[in-house]
Assembly symmetry: C2
Homo-oligomer: 352 residues x 2
């Protein structure tokens, strides 16, 4: 080892889902939206004044913060925006989780939480989901340095009702509780309505799933003004100008397109419910996902084998080689046509 | 104070230069390029397939990394890209500066260094520039946890010659030395040619100044493959997808436009040299800046007063209310017309 290597922060990085470059694949592995962004997004990009790119963007991202605040009936000072919800969550870990006590999150959950905790040397403890992959809310009542969980949870798709979320927030008034609602637009009830009553609650959402803008990198957090102010202080201490001008323009258009938003998410939910029935007929088992994916297992067929067989057919789904979930597949809801191809392959694979 | 506030990382954030929204101003306060980005950038944005934004961008930013590697005759594994050089430098602080010993940087320098160090709880020590704002290289030979300095330095514009840079790198083989070359394209010699000989050297550059893309947020680091690998590990542990698709497309076009790049930076350098003469005639004093700004002071007129008077005339320059430099102004080199307006105002202000 070189001398300078001793001061290196050595980490085991998060491994994002595969982004295959070949064409003609059915990509159901990273929970992207099968429908394009709102038409206004393309228009905003085409209409960009490229000459203005010589100037720094607005460090406050005012145009987008205001648009989101109006959409959610909040004050602009209650909204924080970042480069995808991963950037927002990384900033949250840096800002809010500085206790000697462990932060708490589920054992089966978004696989970035332990990566951030390890990277930032934050002590953490995983609380086991029950046998039906539900969060056991009482596990989060013990002393801790902060709480984070996705709702609906990933990769399970299981959604907690708002009363359970509120119980967790109410039992943790002396730490910050982050509800990561990346998938909330596909079902479930947002904890947003609780932020006026609980100043320790932060709700994080994203444009990557329901608003078809994964490629643009936009996430946001909503909470009381003091939380948002602390978050902005750290953001300004990390990188003042995170959101570039085309991103702000595109994101504003995505928020404005309410009809298109409702229509596309309605289609995804309808497809999801239909696919649940079809997969049920094939003997697959899964919880009642409220997200844009299903987390499925089969009593006779190995998830890993199905995963490999699908890949050969250029159908990509996500497999996690981790305790408790190593016989599951996370399948993103694509278009009806894509899901029909998946189901028809599965029928053949299972000899039906 | 609320209970949850005790775990907050409380910081004094970096204050970016003003971004006034009014029109008709002469903006010489944030070292932006007065010329638009290469014509290919506008074409790339207009040609973007907005439908593809529903997919995550390439987390490896391969297209841009390869373009930069080819441009600088490096291997792609020697190049790291991020959301402006601020993002790159923040990642570097996280990755490389984890010693109990203080990192070293100049007392007068980019004002983000101490912000990152404070935010990340990294001990640091400032080494005083000499009376002519030159780095005293011997100050960096003592035991330390890492070294960072801009070359040319900001806000002074003073450039170290490559031999002095090499001396600092060579005296610090057991820590990482970062040379922040945000302004190197306007003069001075890059330390890039040293990276094969010194595996502890990282060179950071940006698209914000010489490539007119401040609004797009693109920075990069170059060094040996092991350094870059560690940096990527931390980046993937923070936010896997930082560079959005339009940014990658725009940045590639900016690198390709070599003739345009030479022409615009040539114009800025010519304007700078002419303005040096004009300001000298007015009695201003300044070092021989090699950057796209001048750092000026006047024996008879207060910098603060000139700053305020310029602002009323809608000419924005940068004033730092800090020890040793509180009678200086940092003036970005704009177009010839903009600089003529500045000089003509200064003449009137000084009764000449």
């Amino acid at each position: 080892m070189k001398g300078w290597e001793k001061n290196i922060r050595k980490v085991v990085p998060y491994v994002p889902g595969e982004q295959p470059k070949q064409r003609g694949i059915i990509k159901l592995n990273t929970n992207e939206n099968p429908y394009p962004p709102a038409p206004g997004v393309a228009a905003a990009l085409k209409g960009m004044d490229a000459d203005m790119l010589r100037r720094y963007p607005d460090p406050t991202s005012e145009v987008l913060v205001k648009e989101l605040a109006a959409y959610y009936h909040l004050e602009p000072e209650q909204v924080f925006v970042g480069v995808g919800s991963d950037d927002v969550l990384a900033m949250c870990f840096l800002t809010f989780f500085n206790s000697q006590k462990p932060i708490l999150f589920p054992d089966i959950t978004y696989s970035f939480y332990d990566v951030w905790a390890e990277m930032l040397r934050i002590p953490y403890e995983r609380c086991a989901l029950d046998e039906e992959f539900r969060i056991v809310k009482e596990d989060y009542y013990k002393a801790n340095g902060g709480v984070i969980f996705p709702n609906p949870n990933a990769p399970t798709g299981v959604c907690q009702d708002l009363a359970a979320v509120e119980d967790i927030v109410a039992h943790n008034r002396d730490v910050v509780v982050i509800v990561d609602e990346a998938y909330i637009d596909f079902g479930g009830k947002s904890a947003l309505e609780l932020i006026d009553r609980y100043d320790n609650l932060l709700v994080v959402q994203t444009f990557s799933k329901s608003r078809s803008l994964a490629g643009m990198r936009v996430g946001y957090a909503m909470g009381n003004k003091i939380l948002i102010k602390y978050l902005n202080d750290v953001k300004y201490s990390f990188n003042s100008y995170t959101m570039n001008a085309p991103t702000l323009a595109a994101a504003v258009e995505a928020v404005k397109a309410e009809e298109y938003f409702k229509e596309t998410k309605g289609k995804i939910v309808a497809t999801r419910e239909r696919v649940k029935v079809e997969l049920g007929k094939l003997g697959f088992r899964f919880q009642d996902s409220q997200a844009n994916f299903l987390f499925i297992t089969h009593p006779q067929f190995s998830a890993r084998e199905i995963f490999e067989a699908l890949k050969i057919k250029k159908i990509y789904v996500r497999y996690f080689n981790k305790p408790r979930i190593d016989n599951y597949l996370r399948v993103t809801i694509g278009t009806d046509e894509e899901m029909d191809e998946l189901i028809s392959f599965l029928k053949k694979f299972m000899g039906k």
